[in-house]
Amino acid sequence: MMGKRRQRLRLVGLALAVAMVAAACGGGDEGGGGGQQAPAAQKGGVLRTATTSFGFTNGFDVTGEYLGSAFTLYGALVRTLVTYKHVAGAPGNELLPDLATEMPQPTDNGLTYTFKLKPNVKFAPPLDRAVTSKDIAYAFQRINTQPLAAQYGVYYFGVIEGMDGKAKSAATKVSGIETPDDQTIVFHLTKATGDFGFRLAMPATGAIPEEVASCHKKAGDYGRYLISSGPYMIQGSDQLDVSSCDAQKPISGFDPSKKLYLVRNPNYDQATDTTRTNYVDGIKIDVNTNLDDIFNKVEQGALDTSFTDDAPPTLLQRYATDATKKNLIHQNDGDRTWYITMNWATPPFDDLNVRKAVNQVMDKQGMLQAWGGTVAGEIATHIMPPAVLNDQLKADYNPYASEGNRGDEAKAKELMKQSKYDTDKDGVCDAKACSSLVMINRNVAPWTNMEPVVVSSLEKIGIKVKARELDSSAAYTTIQTVKNMIPIALNAGWGKDYPDAYSFAAPLFTKEAIIPTGNTNYGLVGLDQAKAGELGIKFPAGAQIPNVDADINGCQEKTDVNERVTCFVDVDKKLMETVVPWVPYLWNKVVVITNPSVTKYEFDQFSTEMSITEMAVSNKETLS
């Protein structure tokens, strides 16, 4: 009783904080208003940041690394055939040529893409040579190499001829990639792939020099030897001895547990680049395990901003209520959906009406407050964030609408009445399947704050859960192991890999995506008897689990952007209305606090992190 009261008080407190922060942030990034007048952005200085941990998933090796914070760094270090403008919002999702001279028009019914490369792009010291088409081809050879475990290789395997991810060595050429000369590269696809351009903007496809990278034959090894083709390079890169593999020692400016320092690449030619401004002379990221200390230093001016860590809520509140500081809060769309998973293979979620009832009863407003309110994002009403669907489907599409997004108990009970788990038709589940359901959650705020809201919402329709709170990795591992048969989970979120709906739809809802471990199709959408047999799980008797593979693949074949987006809008609606794999509840915002020394703040919509090439500072520090 006491605990619930305290919880309510905490939520009220959070809501107040939220309201203040939201009011301060106004309607979106870019700093809000009032406060100090920022001086004009000038080139020079060092962007001084710190992080509690880099948390890289693959040692910063560009072939496999799959972390947004790494992607924003690669934006400064690795040039790809095409890229984005490294800015916030829709302009940051627009593809532009980078190493390529122009955006290609696919030929051969969308099966062939030919790129011409700019002639004056050079690798950083110690290589000092021009980037050629062979460096791009080599990047794909690395992606195709099994021991290098390219973490998003699925975007190329089976798409580019000859790529299956099973090559034993990166020296093996990819049959579907031709390099007739140093300035030309041709891709031959096995099938029309409407988002192929976006896939070519992923960092793993950027130029990699074989003479250095071939020395690093295991996943993650190349991260400390990365040779830049971008405007910056890792400090000490020029000291790398590339005379032999044995002579190579990790570049001094990068120690994964301590620091990553970037300095300007002397071989970079701004004239070859229309997507980066490169204000600062250097970027300094130190590891500091004390989160409070990081933000104290930002406030004091010893740092310009934090790198990737979220500010403590109390600090956000303080900034939001201080007229001189509220313009130092920056809020941008994170292009990520947070959601509650429901497993089709575990009763009572094998009944569509139960799934719909759960969506209808959920108090999403309460969940948002538990997250910190509108500063954390906006209530998600469907699967894919609006930006991923070019804003063609926004929050006004809400198939489970309720007053104030508080959940509609009456409507939810009507839905529950139609399910086989409500035998007395009173709108409350009375079957054994609805009691003691294991619900996985994370063991930290805001998930723990959100849990009582979810539990009480579910209780209204008779679903009783037992929450199991685990740390983030353990929670994901648990729900990603199909045999665990977790009925419901609160810990899941998914961010776009690139600004196309396919990067949401395919890994989350296709039958092919269901794998025994590491599974991300948590709802098991598309599961059938045969697949259940393969996985060693029981297929729920009488269940008709929908399959949306044809819908998703149909959209994927479309190369016209408008047709493609319209198609995925329909997929999203179908998922929400006839499949109902989740309860989407939040489209998150990324909130960053800066010191007034940051004279220009910019957000990189692709990586959904700060845009390090587009930020300017007023300090006069140097990194030598």
Partner: protein
């Protein structure tokens, strides 16, 4: 004595083996996460997971993995001796990371021990001699305060006051002694003092209690009757005897601290063993967890051995058996 030491060293090896076996069971047999899945990416294929599992050596039976781990410790691996494998997170040899960090922890532990001995023992002695005085009462009250104050609170307060408000401390972080001695000292003083205050309070209270008890012994009265000056009675006969339990305690405390002062390291951003161990557990970096386990187990057992040897040396009634 040498036979005793050799016998104890064999026991050290046995204890370390038992502890690593337990650690292996906890983290490799009943893991909270699957590192192969964790490090295979957001949307991995089964082949990618299998490849990562193979590269991490997790595809072999657990007993074989443990056997290899032991073998590499004694014979070395691809990265030299002792073979501790490579970190799943940083993709670099655990040995290098360990040696890099243990040096920071050693400096923190030894510096703090020096500070707490310098504060704790004299305060304890003075309190015992001036028993019941204002000095005694106030120093014991302070000791009670520091025993009760959590290290994280003391650390944050110290940072807030000396760095954030007064600007007389350089704040958090570590500067190698070889790079700049003054800066190194500046960065270490606050962690030393914060970590030492808790222990100093313990040591002061213990020294006081022991000395008061010792000073009531017959041989102290005899020493006084013999006409020895009071300072000699206190220091030569009283303090020496009352400090033997302190030797035991300092050995154990130092051993534990060499395993890392997690909170102090985290607050002051000193990248030592303790902080690394905690991060490694959360990040699923199992080789790092094992390496720290080996080091902590070694440190504690070896310090115990040293304590026993020194104890017998200090107290002739104790024999090496």
């Amino acid at each position: 004595m040498w036979r005793y030491i050799v016998r104890r060293l064999i026991w050290v090896v046995v204890v370390v083996l038992i502890i690593t076996a337990f650690t292996y069971v906890i983290f490799f047999v009943m893991p909270p996460t699957d590192p192969a899945v964790q490090f295979a990416g957001k949307n991995p294929t089964p082949e990618q997971i299998a490849e990562v599992r193979r590269q991490f050596g997790l595809d072999k039976p657990v007993l074989a993995q443990y056997g290899l781990f032991l073998k590499h410790i004694f014979t070395g691996d691809d990265y030299g001796w002792p073979g501790l494998g490579f970190s799943f997170v940083t993709r670099s040899p655990v040995k290098d990371l360990l040696f890099d960090r243990i040096w920071v922890t050693v400096q923190l532990a030894i510096g703090a021990a020096f500070v707490w001995l310098c504060i704790g023992i004299p305060v304890g002695i003075i309190s015992a001699i001036k028993r019941g005085s204002l000095l005694d009462r106030s120093s014991m009250l302070l000791a009670l305060f520091f025993v009760s104050a959590p290290v994280f609170w003391l650390g944050l307060m110290a940072l807030w006051l000396f760095w954030y408000k007064l600007h007389i401390s350089p704040g958090t972080g570590y500067v190698p002694i070889t790079q700049n001695f003054g800066s190194w000292l500046n960065h270490m003083i606050m962690p030393w003092i914060v970590l030492a205050l808790l222990y100093a309070a313990f040591y002061a209270r213990m020294t006081r209690g022991n000395l008061i008890e010792t000073m009531g012994q017959d041989y102290i009265r005899t020493a006084r009757v013999k006409g020895l000056p009071e300072w000699k009675v206190i220091l030569k006969h009283g303090v020496r005897a009352s400090l033997t339990p302190v030797v035991t305690l300092i050995g154990l405390d130092l051993g534990a601290l060499l395993g890392g002062a997690v909170i102090t390291e985290t607050i002051f951003n000193l990248q030592g063993i303790g902080q690394w161990a905690v991060n490694s557990v959360f990040q699923g970096d199992l080789p790092a967890v094992l390496a720290v386990t080996v080091i902590v187990a070694l440190a504690v057992t070896l310090m115990n051995l040293i304590v026993d040897v020194v104890y017998a040396y200090l107290d002739p009634r104790v024999r090496y058996t």
